[in-house]
Amino acid sequence: MNEIERHYRYQGDPLHEGEVPSDIRTEELTLNMGPQHPSTHGVLRVLLQTDGELVLKATPYVGYLHRCAEKMAEQVTYRQFTLYTDRLDYLAAMNNNLGFALAAEKLGAIEVPARAQYLRVIFAELNRIASHLVATGCYGLDMGAFTPFVYCFREREYVLDLFEAACGARLTYSYITIGGVREDLPEGWIGRCREFLDYLEPKITEYNNLLSYNHIFINRTARVGVCPPDLALAYGLTGPCLRGSGVPWDLRKAMPYCRYDEFDFEVPVGRGEQGTVGDSWDRYFVRLLEMIQSVRIIRQALDKLADGPVQAKVPRLVKLPAGEIYYEVENPRGQLGFHLVSEGGTSPYRLKIRGPSFCNLSILPAVARNCLLADIAALLGSLDIVMGEVDR
């Protein structure tokens, strides 16, 4: 056991089992927060060892939504695989498409026109707003406040209408393809998009008074499910979960892609306002602030939207040269990575997908120890898991 393992021991990391105080011996229930449970956001099964109201150990079981997208990638051409990327993180399909398209374009050294890149930024950020709206709404629902859920979904309705006007679909768009964007915007779309941005801005302050600074909500989420920064990094947490723990790491700022370096926006980081740094409240609040930053980015992107083609000249059957690349994109839930190995054929030789929720979920056993049953719901809600990209 080298000094690094000792390094992780002090946070009660489950490297060694059995440090549960043994002489609490009222009846020990093993409880199944089964695949269908209102607060597990999808088909996730968590086995809880509880003693009365106290949860001693929580072990997640995944794999109920496994469709083996990676095996199918080897039998499908590059253009056809963009349809599978929609189904990975079904709440942020635009960002998944963007990730795969960028990885393929980098491997094939395909040059994407400027207008397409700005369109990609606009749609990726709009999808980030929609996904964060779902996350904050469902988190309010987990805590028992039903109303914010309904407000968030009302706002999300406008984003989905914008997407429907642009690419015809509301959830699985496959709008961003290799070489650019499928179609150009319908006329009048930009005006409606600005109207939506002006409509959304005051709404976020409304959610703050309704939920974020609500005394009961703060008591339920502050100091609950605390992930210290180095434990979060050790378990590979990325996105709002990592930034909630105080690590200012955002791929759009650190390793800019698709012209993100041309926009100025801040990276909100959890500062432990209501409790300690890295608790559920921080992760929730970072998502709220990120929505405001996304609005700023979209506004700047809309101003920079130049005319021009939206699709580079890419052959109908894309053939990428032999080679290998690992490319990551900043998704609403974290860094979505594509490890693309190609042998020069029309379909990838091997494609490994690194889902952010897969790593975010892996911290659950380490953090959910000696907490109450209701805290499990708080912790899971704040990690914002989507089972599509955990099970792939």
Binding site: P38, E53, F146, T147, R154, P186, E195, I216, A374, A377
Partner: protein, 442 residues
């Protein structure tokens, strides 16, 4: 262009056909009844009195009193059912209004008034299964043990100065005792359905309800100390001299006692921030996870009946039950309006506040509510010691305090009315999605 016309929906279930028939022929029957209402009413009255007079003379002098009690009890049960039905419908409409949606609009003519009826019929025809390993007799008994005390509470609640089934001089304690029995129904349900989740619900319910009975009882006793009698009629009669004679404005301790009582009553009805026993997001559905069909309706019903009963207690003791703000005009309608307002506030809490954790519930009760109510009780009874003609200086001070508190009360009511008006005036007419109507051809 795709034109969406209203889809022809065929209801095949017999329950919904009844609702459709009722809503189709209902208004006609109602109109007929209304036109000849007065005639029918007097006819029934004459027949009844003749029957009672004959029975009284020939069979047994005690019987008319017995009949009167039966009629009153049936009336009370009907009132409780109506309260629950309106409560269920109102809860849906209130939550819709808060969440900027319409709520039930289709079953029944105006604003879906028959929605509770439709729910009831839906639940009646649903199969209510009993889990195999459940404890059969306890499982069947539990809904009744929750429902019966909630209805019995109405026996002791006076609607008007003499409108009460049987006024006993321990009326207040009688209602509190009945609410204590309701805990057993919840525990029985949780234990009998033999599943871990409902066991958690039962455990939580037991802790919460038993521990919140004490602050609830104590804050009521502060009012009783002011009036000196436990009977609800005396409590009501002591507040007959208009707005400033209401107990809530008598002394600052009583003013705070109203709010502690209200919080404790929220917990004892398992409502809003304290709805842990059936915390949906953690416990699936808490103690009534395994119940379906008509048994579930009983739990659902008992909740609304208990909600109104508890608010009725609050109005009688703190807000002067059937007495109007102006001295003379006391009538049962004032009692119903005030209780309905308190029930509306309970619904308002439910759709705005998240749920608190079980250990916070216990901490709130033991560390904050209990000592506070004990202090209030001490202060309230001390205040009563000095607030009598023997200490003229203090009574002058007491009158000033009474006036100030009354003005604060008026201020609060004004604030509420202003807020409601402001909200109504500046509400945003939300028609469909704001974006859709701009799209070409939409």
């Amino acid at each position: 262009m795709l034109v969406l016309e209203r889809p022809k929906v065929e209801y095949r279930g017999w329950s919904l056909t009844i609702v459709r028939l009722a809503t189709k022929w209902g208004p006609w029957a109602l109109a007929l009844l209304l036109r000849f209402a007065w005639v029918i009413f007097f006819a029934v009255l004459v027949v009844l009195t003749a029957f009672v007079w004959i029975v009284g003379r020939f069979i047994n002098p005690l019987l008319p009193w017995f009949l009167r009690d039966i009629v009153v009890v049936v009336g009370l049960l009907a009132f409780a059912c109506i309260v629950a039905i309106i409560g269920i419908w109102a809860e849906r409409k209130v939550s819709a209004r808060i969440q900027s949606r319409l709520g039930p609009m289709r079953s029944g003519a105006w604003h879906g008034w028959a929605q509770s009826l439709a729910d009831g019929l839906k639940f009646v025809q649903k199969e209510d299964l009993i889990p195999h390993s459940a404890d059969q007799p306890l499982f069947r008994l539990a809904p009744y043990v929750t429902l019966v005390p909630a209805f019995c509470a109405y026996l002791a609640i006076p609607f008007g100065a003499s409108w009460v089934f049987r006024d006993s001089d321990v009326g207040l304690l009688f209602v509190l005792a009945l609410l204590a029995i309701e805990v057993l129904g919840v525990i029985m349900a949780g234990w009998a359905s033999n599943s871990k989740w409902s066991l958690y619900g039962a455990m939580r319910a037991a802790c919460q309800l038993v521990s919140y009975e004490i602050p609830m009882g104590l804050s009521l006793l502060v009012g009783v100390a002011a009036v000196g009698s436990l009977s609800l009629i005396d409590l009501g009669r002591a507040q007959e001299r208009g707005w400033f004679s209401w107990l809530i404005f008598q002394d600052p301790f009583l003013f705070v006692a109203f709010f502690t009582y209200y919080i404790a009553s929220l917990a004892s009805c398992k409502r809003s921030p304290f709805d842990l026993p059936e915390g949906e997001s953690e416990l699936v559905a808490g103690f009534h996870t395994e119940y379906s069909g008509f048994r579930f309706v009983m739990f659902f019903f008992a909740e609304y009946v208990a909600m109104f009963a508890v608010s009725a207690l609050a109005t009688i003791i703190f807000l002067g039950g059937w007495n109007a703000p102006v001295a003379g005009w006391s009538s049962p309608w004032w009692f119903v309006i005030k209780s309905a307002f308190l029930v509306w506030v309970q619904m308002w809490f439910r759709w705005t506040l998240p749920r608190i954790r079980i250990d916070q519930v216990m901490h709130a009760c033991v560390k904050y509510l209990l000592p506070l109510t004990l202090l209030l009780f001490l202060g309230g009874s001390a205040w009563q010691l000095y607030d009598n003609p023997a200490h003229p200086a203090f009574t002058v001070f007491a009158n000033i305090v009474r006036a100030v508190l009354g003005l604060i009360g008026l201020g609060l009511v004004g604030l509420y009315v202003f807020g409601a008006g402001y909200g109504y005036y500046y509400r945003q007419r939300l028609v469909g999605s704001m974006v859709r109507k701009h799209l070409p051809g939409a």
